[in-house]
Symmetry: C2
Subunit: 200 residues, 2 copies
DNA sequence: TAAATAAACGGAGGCACCTCCGCTTTAGTG
DNA sequence: CACTAAAGCGGAGGTGCCTCCGTTTATTTA
């Protein structure tokens, strides 16, 4: 109840240089750890690998969920950024294919974080809308570009493709999941290329 | 991979007398502990208070969620049983009112278990359908009885009342939540009694 | 009732969580 | 540069989780 310059605009002031460094390092290491060992990766281990004390980790991320959320958002960010980059550096159909392969990795991560994410997605209502919108937006961009340049058939849209990728979300857990998903993407691409420019 | 009389009909054989005793005791104590301290109550403490070792607790309930689920189902069971009992021992409108007061306790518990339950309800798909059906069924019985005997107005049904109680679920967490909910029930009952037998 | 056996018990031990607070580092100021 | 306040660091320590396995107890059989 102490009255003390209660800040109401929480436009967080920039972190001190060392703090920012540590924070970045932590997220980096955590992303790796979650990917390798699942959401239950030891936070103490993460702190150690990032070369900081456990206290530092907890100051930056008060709960495991905070850290998971940051890592997940970063993943989404990376995926969207990759879309732009691939679009710049490759023919539209190749960009789309490469991106979908990366999308498989994203799903893999998402599955790894499943338990925590489920909770986060029901709790933190903005998380779902933020991320799913961004991802499908990135995909739409790639598809429209590929269709516009005649590299893939023009009679499909982003939601069709997203739907076609649905299988990746579901039937899981086998050790060959990743390989299978890769093949699914290839298959889908063949289908998309078939008939390109024909229907135009 | 050892082949060894794999039982396929898991009609669980009755527990040994002492085991059953311990199990009952654990659930009892856990219900109390969860109500008092929330879902994060110490399992070791629960075991101790139940007079058993922590190993025993874990043998019966491999995870905290198992225990939470059992406690929750027991709560639902109790609530439904109370409906029958109250209906037997009181005039229909009084039974309904008393039952709704108890319903408030149930909601309180449910809120206490919130985090775990949310996870359970998205994971364990039968849990939701089982319990919500039973509870609203019990309520419907009481309401129809009260309406049939002319103790409350006849132009409402169970889903109306459930809806009217919606406020109890939502706006929460203030220390006077329970008192407020109690008043809400009273208010609702007055409304239900008003016009009884008039419209018949 | 005594012996045999399957079921259940319980708590020590190892690991992870998370808080707390004395120490260190940074970023300003003169 | 020297100084200082504020920001950040880190890890010891107290607590809870959960597994593992030697010991105890209920039940069955003779």
């Amino acid at each position: 109840m102490t009255v003390e310059a209660t800040r109401d605009a929480p436009a967080q002031k920039p972190l001190r240089a060392d703090a920012q460094r540590n924070r970045d390092r932590l997220v980096e290491v955590a992303a790796q750890a979650f990917a390798t060992d699942g959401v239950d990766a030891s936070l103490e281990e993460i702190a150690k690998r990032a070369g900081v004390g456990i206290g530092t980790l907890y100051r930056h991320f008060p709960t495991r969920e905070h850290l998971v959320e940051i890592v997940y958002r970063r993943e989404v960010e990376g995926l969207c950024h990759a879309a732009e980059e691939l679009a710049r550096d490759h023919p539209a159909d190749v960009a789309l294919e490469l991106w979908m392969q990366r999308f498989v990795d994203y799903i893999a991560t998402k599955r790894g974080l499943a338990t925590s994410l489920r909770l986060l997605l029901t709790t933190n209502s903005t998380l779902f809308s933020d991320t799913s919108g961004r991802v499908s937006g990135a995909m739409r961009g790639l598809i429209e570009a590929a269709a516009a340049t005649g590299k893939i058939r023009a009679d499909v849209d982003a939601s069709d493709v997203m739907h076609a990728l649905g299988g990746i979300y579901s039937a899981p857990n086998t050790p060959d999941w990743r390989a299978r998903s890769g093949r699914l993407v290839k298959l889908l691409m063949d289908g998309l290329r078939f008939g390109a420019k024909k229907a135009g």
